[in-house]
Symmetry: C2
């Protein structure tokens, strides 16, 4: 398969792609592939309504029957819930067709029963269905079980992004963990800030410049050098006052104390 496939990448006609999944990642990747003139020939999802909706958007066929998945495509991108990847992969027999999943935390070997050419195509971004992602800056982390598959996934990634990383499954898992802290947990802190402000009839927008600056300035200096605030200064009076302000919310107080303690410990190191 490989020679024909490399020719396809180097010359039109383009790769034929099948998307397995119709959620946030499948939708946004589908749009990006389409915009990059890739040939998406089919969308599969167990939910008929969402697969046909995405297929309509991408102007391709759809199916909600796993046995009706077209077996003659070049690349299968499996963008579904982590828990479902192994099960769906088991039901697919693709021989030597390339299949790659998009998860940050699942091992590549979850796909080993499906094909002899397996890989990862993990876009490192927070992706919702409604907001179109600018993939050109989004890191795409790829991995494969052989060099030819890696080269082909690299070519596919290059069609949508300028920011490609070849990583092992372990490195990808570490990045995923770091991303949970830097994105999911950070968003939780934004939620807390919004709640504190809402209680006092103040809009979150008053914090937008501060939040933006905090996120941007770490691109110029390590966050270790940028820490400020009462915990960093060891300002016990202010911290005591903040705990009082948090009132009866024990869990918020616990979070305030735990992070403040860690900041103080980092400072004294």
């Amino acid at each position: 398969m490989t020679h024909t496939l490399i020719n396809k990448i180097l010359r039109p006609p383009h790769l034929n792609i099948i998307l397995i999944g119709s959620g946030n990642v499948a939708t946004q990747l589908g749009i990006a592939f389409k915009n990059a003139q890739c040939n998406i020939i089919q969308v599969y999802s167990k939910q008929k309504s969402t697969s046909s909706k995405l297929a309509k958007l991408l102007k391709c066929k759809s199916t909600n029957n796993i046995k009706s998945i077209n077996l003659s495509a070049d690349i299968y991108i499996i963008a579904i819930n982590d828990d479902a990847i192994k099960d769906v992969a088991k039901q697919l027999k693709l021989k030597d067709k390339i299949i790659a999943h998009t998860s940050g935390s699942i091992d590549m070997i979850a796909l080993k029963s499906t094909s002899s050419n397996i890989g990862i195509f993990y876009p490192l971004q927070t992706i919702s269905k409604s907001k179109t992602i600018d993939f050109s800056k989004t890191p795409v982390c790829i991995e494969a079980n052989n060099n030819t598959t890696l080269a082909i996934l690299n070519s596919l990634a290059k069609k949508i992004s300028n920011n490609i990383y070849v990583l092992s499954s372990n490195q990808r898992k570490q990045i995923h963990l770091a991303a949970v802290f830097a994105c999911n947990f950070t968003n939780h802190l934004y939620i807390i800030a919004e709640k504190i402000l809402q209680k006092n009839k103040l809009p979150l927008s008053i914090l937008y410049p501060l939040i933006e600056e905090t996120a941007i300035q770490i691109q110029k200096q390590s966050p270790t050098l940028l820490q400020t605030g009462p915990a960093k200064r060891g300002d016990k009076k202010v911290m005591q006052q903040h705990l009082q302000q948090l009132g009866v919310d024990k869990e918020l107080k616990q979070l305030y104390q735990l992070i403040s303690k860690q900041i103080a410990e980092n400072t004294s190191k």
Copy 2:
């Protein structure tokens, strides 16, 4: 005093300002006032080297003797450590000159022994000495003990910012608490992410697009609607794997579990 002062604001010559302090906030405000053609006539700091350095930058006089502070300025901006504000204010007798401090967490009444016209001039931004701040977008939170003082502080704020909020001391304290979560604690999460990546010889830069997107998208939708990740999905397998990855670091594990629990609770509400 008020009539003359209002005339000064409406017509040149401009307000005469004295900066008390020579740290990050005093430096950046001084630069912003200078750029806005304000007359800074003196800088005071107990440390001779820093006061003269800032005075040189702002092309004005300096003193490190509190008794040598010029008593004929129009506005005194006191930008020093929270703990020192009350003590320094006690040593100043300014009659009816306007004095305002720049702290997020200290009551306005800390200045009551100094003058009959007191206020707050709190720029809501993370401010370091080395990086020049774009104050035009920075919220400046003002407060005063009378309307004339408030109008004059408002005029001064308008010279550097388009984003002015008139707030009570209580509202300002709540904003300061929210800012600790959204800026200081968020920066701590960035530090954790960087450490996880460094251990695996990966650069923090791989997360820049994700961090930026997370901070920017809350300007379009409430962070409550934007939460993603394993805790939100209730993906116990991934969370268990993450705890294993964190290894022997008990405090990090505790933080991971606490925030994940809070995200899950928010989700189920």
